[in-house]
């Protein structure tokens, strides 16, 4: 049999055999294998993608956490500052109030003191007046025994009075 002339019988057999093998393998052989492998490849790719996403999310979470901590810190310092401010204000307020109160008390005390002083002075004056009236009585009683002296005294008083009036007028 020549090597380079295709034999008709063999061509027919080969077509038949290869056709059948192709049909069987294309129906039940290779698609099963390739599909399964493709499915697994998809699964692996999905897994990798999901892992990446999870990593990303974790990173975001950490960032969010940091942000939250920073926010909290800011809030904390703000509250502390406010507290200090209000404390200072309160102290200031209290001080002012205390001052006012003290001033009021002082003023009251002063008025009371002056009132006391007034009444004390009035008392003293009365006593002095009584005393001087008494003294004057005693003095008068002794002096009026003499007529001249009485006249003299009256004159003297009158003079005094007039001078006092004049002074009053002058003023």
């Amino acid at each position: 049999m020549s090597l380079i002339t295709p034999d008709f019988g063999l061509i027919v057999w080969m077509t038949l055999i290869f056709g059948i093998v192709f049909f069987i393998l294309a129906k039940w052989g290779f698609p099963m294998i390739t599909d399964s492998v493709a499915k697994r490849a998809d699964r692996i790719n999905d897994s990798i993608r999901m892992a990446k996403e999870a990593e990303e999310r974790l990173k975001n979470l950490a960032e969010e956490q940091n942000k939250l901590i920073e926010q909290t810190k800011a809030e904390q310092s703000r509250i502390l500052k406010k507290a200090a401010e209000s404390r200072d204000a309160m102290i200031e307020n209290a001080k002012a109030q205390a001052h006012d109160e003290a001033a009021k008390i002082l003023a009251k005390a002063q008025t009371e003191i002056s009132a006391e002083k007034e009444s004390a002075l009035r008392d003293i004056r009365r006593q002095v007046a009584l005393l001087s009236v008494g003294v004057a009585e005693k003095v008068l009683r002794k002096e009026l025994s003499d007529e001249n002296e009485q006249r003299e005294l009256v004159n003297k008083f009158v003079d005094e009075m007039t001078s006092a009036d004049k002074e009053l007028l002058k003023n």
């Binding site: 049999m1 020549s2 090597l3 380079i4 002339t5 295709p6 034999d7 008709f8 019988g9 063999l10 061509i11 027919v12 057999w13 080969m14 077509t15 055999i17 290869f18 059948i20 093998v21 192709f22 069987i24 393998l25 294309a26 039940w28 052989g29 290779f30 698609p31 099963m32 294998i33 390739t34 399964s36 492998v37 499915k39 697994r40 699964r43």
Partner: protein
């Protein structure tokens, strides 16, 4: 890896010796060593499957001869009946005839007439055995996926090896060369690859059920190339035919003499032709090389023991090398056939848009 190498060598070493034993038996029968008969006898198709010759007596597996004579109709008989004689008017034509080594019928006027010959020859038998083996391997692999959840499990052993090969061919060859619509063509290309690969491998095995020079037979590669030819041209899209009949070249190349279309049309046929010849020639040459190296032993048989032994050792070592090379070639040729088929299919489905953008 080392284990694998040892295994390969363990298989190959006896292989190289077997044709030797075969031929040695021939020469022991007293006949002088016939190089032509030795070489062609091992690579050509035959009506029986010759295994070895012991004491000048050929031991072979008889195969059915199926012929249809124009005069007497269908005849089916064992090839044993054709050994050195005529049976029902049929006989194997002598070397001098133009139908040398083929079954012919003696016509009424004494001339040789070639009947329609559908005999299950050595190659057909080899094809059947190899195809059964291929079906067993691939369907066995597919069965694993049917029984297991491939998403959760990864196969080991033989199934794992098949998965690796299938994935490698699909990902590196088919997807790359065919393009987006690769899924439709993937079963054919994978079948072609494993069919050729397995037949190539079985061709290297020197004894039954291997040793039939299937992929080194032009009828077999012709059918494979024709499959690719039909798939390329039947499923080729509009753009493909436009590129052939009215390609984007200066008008004077198309009218009045359709130079480019003519070249393109010839190209339709040269592509599968090259596929056919490449596989056929490579496998045939591989067989010839191994046989030639082994033949050194018999050619030097009468040149004295020392020379024969020395060259015998060289021949065995070279034979081992050639067999290893053939293992590589078996894979490469299957790979190349698949890749080129995939490329031709990819070329038959060009995208019209890309053409317009480049213009």
């Amino acid at each position: 890896m080392k284990k694998l190498l040892t295994l390969i060598l363990a298989i190959l070493l006896p292989m190289t010796a077997l044709p030797a034993q075969d031929a040695a038996a021939d020469s022991a029968a007293g006949t002088s060593f016939d190089m032509n008969e030795y070489l062609y006898g091992h690579v050509r198709d035959a009506y029986e499957w010759h295994i070895t010759t012991v004491d000048g007596k050929a031991i072979s597996i008889p195969l059915p001869v199926i012929v249809r004579s124009k005069a007497t109709g269908w005849h089916i008989f064992s090839s044993k009946r054709l050994e050195d004689r005529e049976y029902e008017g049929f006989y194997v034509a002598p070397q001098s005839s133009k139908y040398a080594d083929k079954v012919v019928e003696r016509g009424a006027d004494g001339t040789e007439v070639r009947p329609l010959d559908f005999s299950v020859t050595k190659n057909v038998c080899g094809l059947l055995i190899n195809s059964a083996l291929l079906l067993f391997i691939v369907l066995g692999t597919a069965k694993w996926y049917r029984k297991h959840d491939a998403v959760e499990e990864v196969p080991k052993g033989g199934v794992g090896l098949m998965e690796m090969l299938v994935s490698a061919i699909e990902d590196d060859v088919i997807k790359e060369s065919v393009g987006e619509e690769y899924k439709k063509y993937s079963p054919y290309l994978l079948t072609a690859f494993f069919f050729i690969f397995l037949n190539n491998l079985m061709g290297i095995v020197p004894f039954f059920p291997g040793g039939a020079n299937v992929t080194g037979n032009i009828a077999v590669t012709f059918v494979l190339a024709m499959f690719t030819f039909f798939i390329v041209n039947v499923f080729g899209n509009k753009q493909y035919w436009k590129d052939i009949l009215w390609p984007e070249v200066p008008t004077w190349l198309k009218v009045p003499v359709p130079l480019m279309p003519a070249i393109e049309i010839i190209g339709i046929f040269t592509k599968p032709f090259s596929l056919m010849v490449r596989l056929f020639a490579n496998m045939l040459a591989g067989h010839f090389m191994i046989l030639g190296v082994v033949a050194v032993i018999f050619l030097t048989a009468h040149m004295g023991a020392a020379l024969n032994a020395g060259l015998g050792i060289v021949s065995v070592l070279l034979g081992v090398f050639m067999d290893c090379l053939e293992l590589l070639v078996a894979f490469i040729q299957a790979y190349v056939f698949t890749m080129l088929s995939a490329v031709f299919i990819g070329l038959s489905r060009p995208k019209p848009e890309t053409d317009k953008t480049t213009k």
